[in-house]
């Protein structure tokens, strides 16, 4: 069964039927937003059943659209949280990627600004590495990007998408060794992106992120995960009651190869490890349970088949 990431948008009336339907078909709800009279579901659903969901959702004014980034967590790295970069361009990019289903976290570096003086500390590096990929938003000058980028990429092992003011081909010549994605023409600007030309730039960013993550999925498919992150999320929701008391919009954030569980590590790590998935197999067998550098959350990294020799 191939699961496809989609967004369902529809009225609040009888939306629980859609949730039940997706779950009965073997899909997973990753995130549910209620906005006034509207409900937005980000879900992974079986490819063959999309038509069925569309048909049942139609009388409820429901709409199903493909969202390639559902189930990913992306770091949007901005050089500082000063007025020079906020709310445009950093928030514009983070918000636009979110529309395609990704969970984006904005990471404002403490001392990322400047050419010679720019730095990144170990906490920032570790937090970025906890994501599926990182979108770096740099400035308008070639000289600065060339000079400061080696410092900012040090120790980062997730794919990097580099955005900056100079055109894409110029960015490519500046960076050595190359990074995974480039988007030119998205540097520092101080106005809201609302014209069609600017929005198409934002689309370019999304396309580049999608392309990079697709390539990552292809690599991962060669050695599949022992359990799908969405399924593991469901199991945790089912077996650990305390997760229902967490007030975050996503108590469990789904990543491509893991989960961020927003429960304190000290209290819940051993409990999580011992939680049974299926006939004597525990979460600890299939995933590494690490403390996250983000607050006191727990980070689960699911091991691939080659390490565990089982797929649940």
């Amino acid at each position: 069964m191939i699961l496809v990431p989609v967004t369902y948008k529809g009225g609040i009336y009888r939306h629980d039927e859609i949730i039940d339907l997706i779950e009965d078909l073997g899909g997973y709800i990753i995130q549910k937003h209620m906005i006034a009279q509207e409900v937005v579901l980000q879900a992974l659903v079986p490819k063959d059943d999309i038509e069925l969901i569309r048909r049942i959702g139609k009388p409820l004014t429901g709409e199903v659209t493909p969202s390639p980034l559902v189930g990913t967590e992306i770091a949007v790295v901005t050089m500082s949280l000063e007025i020079h970069h906020l709310p445009h361009a950093s928030c514009d990019v983070a918000e636009y990627i979110r529309r395609f289903g990704a969970k984006t976290n904005m990471i404002g570096l403490a001392r990322g600004f400047g050419k010679r003086i720019s730095q990144m500390n170990d906490e920032e590096r570790d937090v970025i590495n906890e994501h599926d990929c990182a979108v770096y938003l740099l400035g308008d000058f070639e000289t600065c990007i060339k000079h400061k980028f080696p410092v900012l990429r040090r120790g980062i092992d997730v794919p990097i998408i580099l955005c900056g003011g100079p055109p894409t081909d110029v960015l490519k010549t500046l960076i050595d060794p190359p990074v995974d994605g480039y988007v030119g023409g998205v540097g520092r600007f101080m106005h809201r992106t609302k014209e069609s030309e600017e929005l198409s730039k934002m689309d370019e960013v999304v396309d580049e992120v999608t392309r990079v993550l697709d390539r990552k999925r292809e690599v991962m498919a060669k050695d599949p995960l022992s359990i799908s992150p969405a399924r593991l999320m469901d199991i945790i929701y089912e077996k650990i009651d305390e997760i229902h008391d967490v007030l975050s919009p996503t108590p469990i954030t789904v990543q491509m190869a893991g989960l961020r569980v927003k429960l304190p590590y000290d209290t819940f790590a051993s409990l999580l490890r011992k939680t049974e998935i299926d006939e004597g197999i525990t979460i600890g067998d299939l995933a590494d349970v690490h403390p996250s550098r983000m607050r006191d959350y727990i980070l689960l990294r699911i091991k691939p088949f080659s390490e565990t020799n089982m797929v649940v």
């Binding site: 050089m79 600004f113 400047g114 003086i117 070639e142 000289t143 055109p167 600007f189 101080m190």
Partner: protein, 193 residues
């Protein structure tokens, strides 16, 4: 930026210069400074690195005195000030409190201030300077230029006087001949510092 008579961005990187032209445009518009600035020359060289913004302001309105926005009536040592424009009320109260003490300044309603003053204290009250627009203009202008400049340039020097202003900023110590460079930028505009 039609209202600005001279506006140039000088930068060795063409694309970067064009972006900064747009940024300066948006920031000055957002801060309502377009009509105040007469000439503006921005120089950015990321290689050194150095940022210079130099320019001239249009004539700013003079100092606002008490008589400009209120009526002062003095009768037997009792002074009643009727405020016409409320926007100067806050700075006026600050000045009066400091001068006469809070307990002597009464404010029965929003537009009236009543005080008991002696003859000598009353002298020149109507000519009391309340608000200097050029002071806040200077602050606003420098703030806007700091928003325009690249963020990492933390070493700064700024100047404002005789309708001329400049802000220079860099990551490193400013070059010793910085004033010479600024003078050059002024001469490009047909001005002198």
């Amino acid at each position: 930026m039609e209202a600005v008579e001279y506006f140039e961005v000088e930068c060795p990187e063409k694309a970067g210069g064009d972006y900064y032209r747009h940024i300066a445009d948006v920031v000055l518009l957002d801060h309502n400074l377009i009509r105040v600035i007469w000439k503006l020359h921005i120089f950015i060289d990321p290689r050194i690195p150095l940022f210079i913004a130099a320019g001239r302001t249009r004539k700013v309105p003079g100092i606002v005195k008490l008589r400009d926005f209120s009526d002062v009536n003095a009768r037997e040592g009792k002074v009643t000030i009727s405020i016409g424009d409320e926007s100067y009320l806050a700075p006026l109260l600050q000045i009066l409190w400091e001068k006469f003490g809070k307990e002597r300044v009464e404010q029965p309603d929003r537009f009236t201030i009543v005080m008991n003053l002696s003859e000598s204290e009353l002298q020149g009250l109507e000519d009391l300077p309340v608000y200097d627009p050029s002071e806040s203009l200077y602050k606003d202008l420098i703030y806007a230029l700091q928003v325009i400049q690249p963020e990492g340039f933390k070493v700064r020097r700024q100047y404002y006087g005789k309708g001329r202003f400049y802000l220079v900023a860099s990551e490193d110590t400013l070059p010793e001949d910085i004033e010479e460079i600024v003078r050059e930028k002024f001469s490009l505009m047909g001005e002198s510092l």
